[in-house]
């Protein structure tokens, strides 16, 4: 109970809320690095959208930081936040299940024992908040009361409660869930809460009502389509939608148009005040709860992280077809529906399209481009569910940029490893080849080697250690290379040595793109740190 009171107090202080959100960011060190890194890579691409081209160097700059971050479909931090908030929310809710629930929440309660939402709404909840109250008001209902939400809540009941258990413990609300009449309801509603919270985190500084309403709609939309485990994904989508909305005021841009369409069509009537009210309320809740639930973050991650990939697919596909988006998206859809063409393109002019040769050629060209964009989608991580040229290009640019930065970083790292480039190489080879004579530290050895031997005559006879060869045959990865130090070797000649070193480095195994990405982020983190 005092938790709620405290939370309410904090709510009233908007600045504190901002600080809290910043603190929330900072409390998750593992994610912050990622965020910062991502933030920095975002600068160029977000300029036109955000109008503020400066990279977010400090976590307190939540606005741009949040936008940039969330637009990157950054799963882990997102999930963290969503779940942090949700768990805190639920905790506070459960302590007072029969709190001052207003009309809005009451309607949800009937749907599925909707409890979690109005946790701190002691101060007075309203079903709807007028949009102009958005910026500063803290007396906001947690959920819209309109039929849209009820519809969504009704849909929740169709979800099975099977996965409930896996998520219950992290949120430490198992015993309380049982109180509620409808089994799957609370969990799904709770998850929807997560989504909203997650989206809240990002849109904390957003001023548009439009975006807030789209959050609500996206929430409903995503929940319709995905399993309840995909809460994190939904939240990400919601956030991305929110971000896209906030950044593209008039719904400009293919991506936002797509997503907005995706959100708008299913629940058209949600646009308006309820979204804003929800947003504000959630925002406060997030600020207040963020600090408390840092501990739960990890558990939440594990629960949800796995499901991110699949559900998003479900989310995106329905939306893209139903989207009333831009003309470009329409064309894309039309392009996709065209039968595949050979090298010489036989194009039928579609209904209502110009038939002169220029437009036909243009269409052919566009189809080619879209084909290749699809290929790129497979190549660039995290792009398989992105539709739209602009967003794809964005992702591609960021990926290329990050790869190039990795190269620079690695070259800097290599440059600092040893004062002399040649000793780098010689150290590498010497380790492998001078083992019989080398002491425990090859470092001390290599300078001597360098001094004693000119480069090309580096080493006495040596050969690849049988172990190393064995390892190469069995396809070791690059990480096995350091272990080669421990094995005696007698290289025959330099070329062989080099070849074997290289072989050991890459073995027969490939460094899979996944590992690249995994390693890549720590690298970039180091770089940005």
């Amino acid at each position: 109970m005092d938790e709620e009171a405290r939370i309410e107090q904090e709510k009233r202080d908007e600045d504190a809320g901002n600080r809290n959100s910043a603190t929330v960011w900072l409390n998750l060190p593992s994610t912050t690095m990622n965020l910062v890194g991502l933030c920095n890579t975002e600068t160029i691409c977000r300029e036109d959208l955000l109008g503020s081209g400066t990279p977010c160097s400090s976590a307190p700059m939540v606005d741009s930081f949040g936008r940039e971050l969330w637009s990157r479909a950054c799963d882990p931090p997102f999930e963290n936040f969503g779940y942090c908030e949700a768990s805190a929310l639920n905790n506070s809710n459960i302590s007072d299940p029969s709190g001052n629930r207003r009309i809005g929440p009451a309607s949800f309660r009937s749907d599925g024992g909707w409890n979690p939402l109005p946790p701190m709404l002691k101060g007075g909840l309203y079903a709807l908040n007028p949009p102009n109250m958005l910026p500063g008001s803290f007396c906001v209902p947690q959920f819209p009361t309109d039929s849209g939400f009820i519809e969504r809540a009704a849909r929740f009941s169709c979800f099975s409660g099977g996965n409930f258990g896996s998520l219950v413990n992290p949120f430490s609300i198992p015993e309380n869930i049982g109180h509620y009449p409808v089994g799957p309801g609370p969990m799904d509603v709770f998850l929807s809460n997560c989504v909203k919270l997650g989206s809240e985190l990002n849109v904390e500084a957003a001023e548009d009502v439009e975006m807030a309403s789209k959050e609500g709609t996206s929430l409903g939309c995503t929940q319709e389509n995905s399993e309840k485990d995909a809460c994190s994904v939904r939240s990400r989508d919601g956030v991305e939608q929110g971000v896209a909305m906030s950044s593209n005021d008039s719904g400009e841009g293919e991506s936002s148009g797509n997503r907005g369409g995706q959100a708008n069509t299913p629940i058209a009537y949600n646009v308006g005040g309820e979204g804003s009210s929800k947003e504000v309320g959630l925002r406060k809740r997030k600020k207040n709860n963020g600090k408390e639930v840092g501990g739960d973050k990890n558990k939440e991650d594990q629960g949800v992280a796995n499901n991110g990939g699949e559900s998003q697919q479900k989310v995106e596909h329905p939306g893209s077809t139903s989207c009333k988006g831009t003309e470009k998206s329409d064309k894309r859809g039309a392009q996709a529906s065209d039968p595949p063409k050979g090298d010489y393109i036989h194009i039928r002019a579609r209904r209502g399209q110009a038939t002169n040769s220029h437009s036909l050629a243009e269409r052919a060209r566009r189809e080619k481009i879209s084909e290749r964009m699809k290929l790129l989608q497979d190549l660039v991580p995290g792009c398989s569910k992105v539709t739209g040229k602009a967003v794809m290009l964005d992702e591609i640019i960021n990926y290329v940029q990050s790869l190039q930065r990795q190269v620079e970083f690695l070259s800097m790292k290599l440059a600092t490893v040893n004062p002399r480039i040649d000793s780098n190489i010689e150290g590498l080879l010497a380790k492998d080849m001078m083992m019989p004579r080398a002491g425990p530290s090859t470092l001390g050895f290599s300078p001597e080697m360098t001094a004693a031997y000119p480069q090309m005559h580096l080493l006495p006879p040596g050969l690849v250690p049988p172990d190393a060869v064995r390892r190469a045959i069995h396809g070791q990865t690059a990480s096995s290379l350091p272990r080669a130090r421990d094995h005696p070797q007698v290289p025959h000649n330099w070329e062989d040595e080099l070849h074997n070193v290289v072989q050991m480095g890459f073995g027969g195994g490939d460094v899979v793109p996944g590992s690249l990405d995994n390693e890549g982020s720590p690298q970039t983190d180091e770089m940005k740190a």
């Binding site: 003309e327 481009i369 190549l379 040229k389 490893v417 780098n424 190489i425 072989q503």
Partner: protein, 199 residues
């Protein structure tokens, strides 16, 4: 594209180390930034040479490196004195030095692509002249965004400035794949070396 990734990486690593060795023999004391530059340059050149000039970006890397006279020695050592890594149309120009050859190549390519651009522009202007503003604004905004990003991508992909969209995407595809290989190679070396830092 990359049929045998590990082999490719081995090749890149070999070429890179060769380049580093050949370079460091001539320079005894290098500053940190110089070392970094050499390392990066040789890595890029190794990548480009393994790719063997069949792609625009690889040629562009080499051309850009050639423009700097300081790099000539390294380039020659790494890639051999021949210009066989250049595009096929340049092979006849083998006799030229790196700098001239690069400039000449670029110019002819530039002429070709700029003429393409002019044609495109005329076509676009003609089409949009009598066009009523039927298109919704979102589409035009979307187009603008895409254009902006395409331009950005062109800045990042070497040699992408004068390419049309289709080939730009192809080049990007290829470049991404090989860039990943380069990163793998460099990371392998960085991990295998002792982690002493002496700047």
């Amino acid at each position: 594209m990359m049929h045998n990734p590990s082999k490719v990486r081995q090749k890149i690593m070999k070429k890179w180390i060769m380049g580093l060795r050949s370079c460091s023999s001539s320079h005894e004391n290098l500053s940190l930034s110089e070392r970094r530059w050499i390392i990066k340059l040789s890595a890029d050149l190794a990548l480009a040479s393994v790719r063997n000039g069949s792609r625009r970006w690889s040629r562009a890397i080499i051309e850009e490196a050639s423009r700097n006279p300081d790099n000539k020695g390294l380039i020659q050592r790494m890639l051999g004195s021949g210009c066989d890594y250049r595009s096929p149309c340049l092979i006849p120009r083998e006799g030229r030095s790196d700098g001239n050859g690069a400039g000449h190549v670029t110019k002819s390519m530039w002429v070709a692509t700029s003429s393409k651009k002019i044609v495109k522009r005329c076509r676009r202007a003609r089409r949009s002249n009598g066009r009523a503003p039927r298109r919704n604004e979102a589409a035009s905004i979307a187009k603008r965004l895409v254009k902006k990003r395409t331009q950005l991508l062109k800045d990042f992909v070497p040699g992408g400035q004068d390419m049309d969209d289709v080939s730009l995407i192809e080049e990007t595809l290829d470049y991404i794949v090989w860039l990943r290989a380069q990163v793998d190679v460099m990371r392998a070396l960085a991990h295998s070396l002792p982690a002493t830092t002496s700047i």
